[in-house]
């Protein structure tokens, strides 16, 4: 994996982790306005990073594929391979 790709993936993973964590927190604190604000900001950031990543390196979710000539979902590595996560 190129260092540029990995850098973007790390940002995406960190942001997605923030979204996972605030989601769980909000499950038990659904009226926390600070938490809701944090969720909105991180989930917006995640959306942008996901779009940027998928545009450059192919789909993270099969449903997001924009493939025309070749089904790109199966042309990029799965993440359990060393260097691919």
């Amino acid at each position: 994996m190129s260092s540029e790709k990995q850098k973007l993936l790390r940002r995406l993973q960190a942001t997605r982790f923030a979204v996972i964590e605030i989601n769980l927190y909000l499950d038990s604190h659904p009226t926390c306005s600070e938490g809701l604000k944090y969720f909105r900001s991180k989930s917006e950031e995640l959306k942008k990073l996901t779009e940027e990543y998928q545009e450059k390196y192919g789909p993270l979710c099969a449903a997001d594929s924009k493939a025309e000539n070749y089904w790109d979902w199966v042309s990029t590595a799965f993440p359990w391979e060393r260097g691919e996560s």
């Binding site: 993936l9 993973q13 769980l24 038990s28 060393r82």
Partner: protein, 202 residues
């Protein structure tokens, strides 16, 4: 329903194969306190939960446990790459190898296959949430024990992440239990099962 995303929740990039360590870490895939059991436990218990917030907690933590089973599997997979027959015998990985080669099979460290007997789904939210709290502590201590057995930073890093998640999940389950008891008779939480007796009362 679920959507698969083609990245790990936390990265796993292991340089040095170590089949003996892989065998130990298998405990956290298909062992009694492993991630397959955790996901199966929470995702099955959800239906008997009487309040939406706790239904959300079980759904979201159960979903995260699926992602954790993928992390543990990736660790085992990368620890068992490019092994020679000599390494397999000397590391004690041979007993696993003879049945599964280097495929990923949900078993414990002794090779005992995963069984739903490890988990409960009682239909009683108080009992289930207490099991869930205990499950998170048992998983946490299993990760502590794994950390006692390896110096490899490539392995310790994702194991430490998984260990931390157990602590956060324990916290959320504690809040879930409080939400459910808050809706019950404070003088006797066990007077009735809100998921069963509550429905009959209406």
């Amino acid at each position: 329903m679920w959507k698969y995303e083609k990245t790990l929740e936390y990265p796993v990039n292991i340089k040095n194969p170590d089949p003996a360590l892989a065998k130990v870490i298998l405990a956290q895939l298909g062992g009694p306190d492993g991630e397959v059991g955790a996901a199966t436990r929470y995702l099955n218990q959800r239906y008997a939960i009487p309040c939406r917030q706790v239904q959300g907690i079980l759904t979201d933590i159960g979903t995260e446990e699926l992602a954790h089973s993928e992390i543990v599997s990736a660790i085992i997979y990368q620890l068992t790459r490019n092994l020679t027959p000599k390494q397999i015998v000397e590391s004690g990985f041979d007993a696993y190898f003879v049945n599964h080669t280097t495929g990923i099979y949900p078993a414990d460290a002794n090779g005992m296959g995963f069984t739903a007997d490890y988990i409960q789904s009682t239909g009683d939210p108080i009992a289930d949430l207490h099991e869930d709290l205990a499950a998170e502590q048992k998983a946490r201590l299993s990760y502590d024990n794994i950390l006692r057995l390896t110096d490899d930073p490539d392995v310790r890093d994702p194991i430490k992440f998984l260990r931390e998640r157990e602590i956060v999940h324990f916290q959320r389950f504690g809040e879930g239990l409080r939400m459910i008891t808050d809706q019950l008779d404070a003088k006797n939480f066990y007077a009735f099962n809100p998921s069963f007796d509550g429905a009959k009362k209406k």
